[in-house]
Symmetry: C2
Subunit: 231 residues, 2 copies
DNA sequence: CGAGATATGTTGACATTGTCCACTCTAGCA
DNA sequence: TGCTAGAGTGGACAATGTCAACATATCTCG
């Protein structure tokens, strides 16, 4: 009797229904992506890791694309969270902005494949665009930067008003593209070594902020900075 | 008789040996990459396009990786050529630098998949590194920028000497990462619209150059800017 | 000039993958 | 209690990267 029940309980430990396969698959994908630093893993591999049949994931994602979209969204949330945390206990707006930049670059350098998945147009299919969750996360990140700027990170406060949109977007364009480029050059080892990341980021950033204090490039009308609002 | 010979001549028009399959395959890859904007095409598709058996490409490339490396190298050469051409008939070093930047960004935006292949660490395998031809092309590009800087693009001439290495590398780091980031944000439509590319590039660039005229961030010792010399 | 040797191409095979379809199980609601 | 819809399973299929064995053209050297 004991034997039988134990047999059942050990063999059949995994119930027919997994419980939260969606989350499990996304986490497995994040793991594999981080380990292999490549998006060329197979859905079947994830299924294997999750201990389910090769087709189970298709009940939660219509596509490999969709799965990668979910992974990307998690990446945005992680990055935004780190940026937000990095500014805790910092008062000076400029220091807050610098801390965010540092967190941003380090996040990207520490997991290039994830960063590339997030920004590298894997889902740049001209048809549908990116998942809403991605756009939301990206806007949250932008909001953090806008806040620091409006608080005076560029020398003087710049209120986050309609009238200042072009100015703020100009500043963010410079800031973002500089950090984005630095992140990717470091991640791809076109600039290095990696253990100088923080130092390089700080140096480049200070020069850039000084430049922005002096003058902020104009952004032409009709330009957007951040994911487009309309699909 | 006529029929037979014609049959033979038309059917057997393609000799057993292709002639220059290597080049043909690379060009086909460039075509497919440019059209599909994805590196996920198949070697077999290229073979089909070249009118050759599915395994013929393997006589010229050990790997899909190696093929993509060759494509990337061509991309570097194309980009360097465009940058060089853009500076023709321009005298002012600053104008030359601006023209190069514009050519660089436009090149990337016009073919994002190729640009991403070149810089996006598809061949960042921690083992072997990038093909020599790629590194050479990247250094040629860097040389163009160095020349403009030493000619005085940043307000005063900065001789390309050992003593100035850190200064020049600092300037190039700022310049390159800014343009790299801008290119990718535009390519991935995180900034747009695309038809404002030149305007945006010019504005961002002028601000950046003004900043560099005032002060060039120091680059810590041991930092490299450009592909590492040692594998 | 003629015969290996050497590239270069071809055919066939295999494991793996994304994805479709038909089926089964199980939980929850009527 | 029994049905239904969601969740998981197994099999099938075409496509792909890559290996191995074979075929053919070109080169080389006697």
């Amino acid at each position: 009797m004991d034997g039988m029940t134990q047999d059942i309980s050990t063999k059949d430990q995994r119930p027919y229904h997994h419980g939260d396969l969606h989350r499990t698959i996304v986490e497995a994908a994040l793991d594999v992506l981080s380990e292999s630093q490549s998006t060329e893993f197979s859905l079947r591999e994830l299924a294997r890791r999750a201990g389910v049949s090769h087709n189970a994931p298709y009940k939660h994602f219509t596509d490999k694309r969709e799965l990668l979209g979910a992974v990307s969204a998690v990446g945005f949330e992680l990055l935004a969270k780190r940026m937000a945390e990095a500014t805790r206990e910092l008062d000076s707006p400029r220091e807050r902005l610098a801390a965010m930049a540092s967190a941003y670059v380090c996040g990207g350098v520490n997991n290039p494949a994830l960063y590339r998945l997030m920004f590298g147009g894997y889902l740049a299919g001209q048809d549908d665009g990116r998942p809403a969750i991605e756009r939301t996360a990206a806007y949250n990140m932008k909001a953090l930067v806008v806040e620091a700027i409006s608080d005076g990170a560029l020398g003087r406060p710049i209120a986050d008003t309609e009238a200042n949109t072009r100015t703020i977007d100009g500043a963010i364009l410079v800031f973002w593209s500089q950090m984005h480029g630095l992140t990717l050059l470091l991640a791809d080892r076109l600039v290095g070594p990696g253990d100088k990341t923080k130092e390089l980021t700080a140096n480049v950033l200070q020069g850039m902020l000084d430049g922005l204090v002096n003058s902020i490039p104009a952004v032409p009308e009709g330009v957007w900075v951040g994911p487009p609002l309309a699909g």
